[in-house]
Symmetry: C2
Subunit: 414 residues, 2 copies
């Protein structure tokens, strides 16, 4: 039988899991202190819902679950590949949340401030920092159309990051509509802007030339591509300049308000910066989008944005929504690399017993010691010196014995 986990998925050893539990616990603490409430949805979603969810490239990465019994038999007879599956593993937590809100709206407060921390799945080509199964930590505000929702999500997410010892980070922010306004002005047709934006989002990675090349391949009008290339060549990317190219002037004003409010809340603890090329991959974003980057790590450690049309697809009635997701795996990866030490809780003590011991008495003694220590009950080895060394390596601070009252402290411990 195969002993390794499946490609792109991971077994977590106790020390790494302890770090993960600590990080998740601290993040939840910050979220909850701000009145956000946790919910949970199934890992599996209806395949049609997933297909229609505007998840961009992620739609190609869905793990599909095979139908069963008669349903599978008739699908096989029909021979249609699409028909073999009617549910799939979720690729993010935003689609399930939108469905959840539509299903449970009468039981939920307005605005609904919600936490989700859970696993999602993407059939990516595995690479460093990119897993096929990973945890996301999301907060969302549903039912608040004002940009106060964006401000609060940024404030809470930034405080969550600060709370786990991160501080060298920048919140990059943009409003897709400003970008779309500018692109419309340049001659791109309104109904093609999603596709233009998906390419434009890659500006940081593929440069001006790469963007022009991809847009040409996608057969956009030459004049529009030229106007965009000219603009990029000028390198004048201030919010004022760009929002000046966009008809709706309130967009630039609102974005400026978010930036200056967050700046005053951050009080120097982190940065916020306008990033005109920021789009984010998902097709479902409709307004502001944001992403947290960290000097010591390439790529984003958190990302999110406004998605005002998603819930409407389920409910038949628009509900404004904004979300911010912490890239839990990246955060944990960085902390592991930095050899992050979790603040100490109770010291670990091993209570050793001999084969002839009365085991009820051993466990009763363990129960008493447990008021001061985390107590592991373990059989005493014949070579006690060697066992002490092993236990010390395992992080035990002290040893007690079932048959006497001695407590032996290990290594540098008290």
């Amino acid at each position: 039988m195969k002993i390794n986990p499946l490609k792109g998925m991971k077994d977590y050893l106790p020390a790494e899991q302890k770090l993960r539990d600590y990080v998740q616990g601290r993040i939840l603490e910050t979220y909850r202190a701000s009145g956000f409430e946790r919910i949970s949805t199934p890992m599996l979603e209806d395949m049609e819902n997933l297909d229609k969810s505007e998840g961009g490239d992620n739609l190609n990465l869905i793990f599909k679950v095979l139908k069963r019994g008669d349903k599978l038999a008739s699908a096989l007879t029909a021979g249609n590949e699409k028909d073999l599956s009617d549910m799939g593993l979720r690729y993010d937590l935003t689609l399930p949340l939108s469905r959840y809100y539509a299903a449970n709206r009468d039981k939920l407060p307005t605005p609904f401030k919600v936490i989700q921390t859970d696993r999602v799945f993407r059939a990516e080509r595995p690479q460093k920092g990119r897993m096929r199964e990973f945890v996301q930590c999301d907060i969302d505000i549903l039912g608040d159309a004002s940009c106060n929702a964006e401000i609060e999500l940024i404030d809470v997410t930034a405080r969550a990051l600060l709370g786990i010892g991160f501080n060298d980070f920048t919140v990059n922010i943009n409003d897709r509509r400003i970008l779309r306004g500018m692109l419309t002005n340049m001659g791109f047709a309104a109904d093609t802007l999603d596709s233009v934006c998906i390419t434009f989002d890659k500006l940081d990675k593929i440069g001006t030339e790469g963007v022009a090349k991809e847009l040409t391949e996608k057969q956009f009008p030459e004049s529009a591509i030229a106007a965009l290339t000219d603009f990029l060549a000028k390198g004048e990317f201030s919010l004022e300049t760009i929002s000046g190219l966009c008809e709706d002037k309130t967009l630039g004003e609102n974005l400026q308000k978010v930036i200056s409010t967050v700046e005053s809340l951050a009080n120097g603890a982190y940065k916020i910066a306008y990033c005109p090329s920021l789009v984010r991959g998902q097709g479902y974003y409709t307004g502001m989008v944001f992403e947290v980057t960290c000097a010591s790590f390439s790529g984003a450690v958190a990302g999110g944005g406004r998605y005002d049309n998603m819930i409407g697809k389920f409910l038949g009635q628009q509900v404004p929504a904004v979300g911010f997701s912490i890239g839990f795996e990246r955060i944990c990866g960085i902390l592991m690399e930095q050899n992050f030490q979790i603040p100490a809780d109770k010291k670990k003590l091993a209570l050793l017993y001999l084969p002839e011991a009365d085991f009820a008495q051993v466990l009763q003694k363990a129960a008493l010691l447990r008021s001061s220590y985390t107590v592991s009950v373990l059989p005493q080895a014949k070579k006690l010196g060697k066992q002490f060394g092993t236990l010390e390596n395992q992080g035990f601070a002290a040893i007690a014995f079932a048959d006497n009252d001695e407590i032996k402290w290990l290594g540098a411990a008290e």
Copy 2:
């Protein structure tokens, strides 16, 4: 788009999720205080591993994940249903743990005392208390062949249940080998005992007649079935009588030792009872098996047993193993029905602001209040009286205002 969760799966509202988080937190606290360490494994496992895992009926309930790309295309050409999938969602946490231990043994202590709390999946026909996606809370001890491992698992699991307010429960215990010894004596062939035991396990549900009928259908020797029926008719099911029918006398002695040790540890807080028909469904159990029942709820709320052969399948070398799994969903279901109240933490306060407020100042005020309360920042409604009522219903204890220093207490709160 469909707004309901998939069949047999569930959306959790904030109040229920809060209870679930509380219960899981308390269980983890008890487990960790006893030196158990949490690990985590992927939701998906290799399909061959799952198929060979002796999971009994659960093997028919596996959600299989469809292959992708070229692999799927050639599987479809071959037209072999089995070939469409090479991984599946796990149906329990024991198989993944066994694989994990084989893969990571050099990095793990001996004995390895391990916690897993996570989701598992079974394509069951949905019914009350039986979901297609549900959470299990397991502890296991790997590498200890003595029955101290059973005693400690029972002690820790029982304390975890007591810790969340359960007390009217009984730990039912048996040793499969005693039952197998008796059945061998009655004339069942040794290599058919797994199948006999799976039927016998249903004694509580289908009675003596049902057991005899199913064994007849399975074409076991009439004489053996008659011997078993006669024995069941006598109704003399003490450990002494039954283990007397079994050749290996140490089995009865060890089981007696576990029962009396746990009785002295329980000190009346819960019961432990010998249950001769207890087998548990899984084929992989090799020795003692146990199950917790609760007078106020039909069916088991926790179950486990020894599975000394499972890790060997991965490692090529036997490693003794015992596990105990709390039926997290049943526990939470019972607590929900009892309208269980979570011990209070910080009181919930709503900080209301008007549209014209400076939102940075609002959030700064929220940060100050957060030292004493869980603070939700919310827009102030035009009809303030109605909003007070809504907030009180949502569990808020007090209201503060962004533009003055008043704190208004709601309802019966302080």
